[in-house]
Amino acid sequence: MPSVTFEHVRKRFGDSTVVEDFDLVVADGELLVLVGGSGSGKSTILRMVAGLEEVTSGTIRIDQRDVTALPPRERDVAMVFQDYGLYPHMTVRENLSLGLRLRKIPRQEIDRRVTWAAGMLGLASLLDRKPKQLSGGQRQRVAMGRAMVREPKVFLFDEPLSNLDAGLRAQMRIEIGGLQRRLKTTTIYVTHDQVEAMTLGDRIVVLADGRIQQIGRPIDLYRAPVNRFVAGFIGTPPMNFVEGTLRENNGQAVFITEGLSIGVPREKTLTANPTQSLTLGIRPEDLRVESSAAQSVDDGSSAGVLRGRVVLVERLGGTSHVHFDVAGGGSRMMASVSNDRLPIVGETIVVRVPPERVHLFGADGRAIGRTAEIV
């Protein structure tokens, strides 16, 4: 089965370590997304699979075979590049078929595969054009077709949609996902765009500073981020963070910060050290903007309710983003709300923070109360 296995893979450039102890198995037929900011090491990992970068230590296996020291052409992988990497002097047909011609595949078989890929990608009428006569989306398709006709063990995508405009990016994202599900080819997909990661990945690996932060299904990363980095990185709009402390109050754990105190379910504070300084995270879509300020608010110690003064309302169409300053605090937060009753700038609003939706992070950034679920 063509799976890809990383065993303690490290990569150093001079004195700096770019990838640290990368250990992972990509299952046969899986679409695994590597996501992270620039310098996270995601592209380097992909290039090590392709053989374009040497591995400093560790082993990479494709289909159980150790490929760590093999040149790119002996690895049976195909790669789609950010700038497509099409051969400018060749027609679409030549671009698609070159890899097969180099491998001395019979001409009939080449024609069959090129016709098949061109049909699947809607390139049939463009086969005699050169890359510069194509639009960005069409070039992207040719690059994908070039990978498909090879029928490789593994597809490698290196930020393939970064050069496209937003609309085309969304469309190509859907096409890539659909194509991968039909072909069932093991795929490693690198992106800095967490929306691409969420929508495409069977599993996502979040990377920062060359280290794996979390591996999991998209929904698991969204619901249960293991640290503050993952919490802030996955999900749009990004999670709100508020600094505060945890107190014991009548047997209940209460998170306290200026302008807000909220009772936190027991299981979320299992590993927390009382009076330790913490960060509370809450997603904008989990906040409930209840009403205007006229309504009286129960100021009980664990009510999970705060007041805020609206500073900005961004209307996105279906929903709106309400930015507000927490009264008595100073921290700025954002709530994602439907358009039914939008507050106006300057208005004081009451916002309810559902305790079960709260994430707590320790001073080291790790999620509290979740150690059992971590990879």
């Binding site: 392709a50 790119p72 992988v77 790669m79 950010q82 497509y84 990497g85 051969y87 002097h89 060749m90």
Partner: protein
């Protein structure tokens, strides 16, 4: 708008004047001279089409044209191959890359006469370095510049050596223009080093190759210093170039009208050859 025009004219002025005096005027003068007979001393007289008629039946002129083609047929291919090979080598990560690049460029800026004298010594039959090396490995010495069969090839090799640095720079620029992703893509697709060169590098360098062919052809037609210094056009007129013949007509035989006619004819031949080359290469590209 008027002010802009004024400053534009002012800035273009000096070069326009230069062009007028050193290019437009000489060309016009040469075209007039074609129809004159003039020895630089006495008053020129009208000669009608005599110079042209003479040229068409002048065996020495056509011999010089043929010699120049022999030179080009060796020089141009050799120039492409050596410049490309050196550019490929210098494009790699090798120790002292800047030194090597400078070293290969140096002959370009050395005076042609100096290079010619230097190579006369290298090519010398009895004491030349090349022949001494040949003798050392057990071969008999070759009279490079005095044998009619080897004189022009020897000059072509030397001119190629002198100019290679210039063309290396053109190829290096072209090599750096090939996107890294293309090079990596073809590597992943299974190409060997030779296949990468054959299917990616060489076709990507077509514009540079056209430039090298065109420039080295134009330069080659103007071959003068080397035969003038090294062979005087011999042996058996085998290194007599068109420009050397032109020079001798003008300043040795003082036939200015005829020399101008040779010059105009040379310009026409260069134009026709370069045009034909471009057509041929263009057709090859379309294939």
């Amino acid at each position: 708008m008027r002010a802009e025009q004024k400053s534009g004219s002012l800035m273009a002025g000096p070069y326009a004047a230069f062009l007028l005096v050193f290019a437009v005027y000489p060309i016009a003068f040469a075209l007039v001279l074609v129809f004159l007979q003039w020895d630089l001393v006495t008053v020129p007289t009208f000669a009608g089409a005599n110079n042209i008629r003479l040229l068409l039946h002048d065996g020495r002129f056509w011999r010089a044209v043929a010699n120049t083609f022999v030179f080009l047929s060796i020089h141009v291919p050799l120039q492409i191959v050596t410049a490309l090979a050196l550019a490929l080598a210098l494009n790699r990560q090798l120790a002292g890359r800047s030194f090597w690049r400078a070293a290969f460029f140096l002959p370009v800026v050395i005076s042609g006469a100096v290079v010619a004298i230097l190579w006369s010594h290298l090519y010398a039959t009895d004491v030349g370095l090349i022949n001494r090396l040949l003798v050392k490995i057990g071969l008999s010495p070759v009279p490079w510049l005095t044998d009619p069969r080897t004189a022009m090839p020897a000059i072509a090799v030397m001119v190629t050596w002198k100019n290679v640095g210039f063309y290396v720079i053109i190829y290096l620029a072209g090599l750096q223009y090939i996107p890294r992703s293309c090079q990596e893509a073809i590597e992943i697709e299974g190409a060997s080093a030779w296949q990468r060169f054959r299917y990616l590098t060489l076709p990507s360098l077509l514009p540079q190759t056209i430039l090298v062919v065109t420039l080295s052809t134009i330069n080659g037609f103007q071959l003068f210093i080397e035969p003038y210094v090294m062979t005087g056009g011999g042996p058996l007129r085998r290194t007599y170039s068109v420009v050397l013949y032109l020079y001798n007509n003008a300043f040795a035989y003082q036939k200015m009208g005829y020399a101008a006619t040779i010059g105009v004819a040379l310009a026409l031949i260069i134009g026709i050859v370069v045009f034909a080359q471009r057509r041929l290469i263009g057709r090859a590209e379309a294939l």
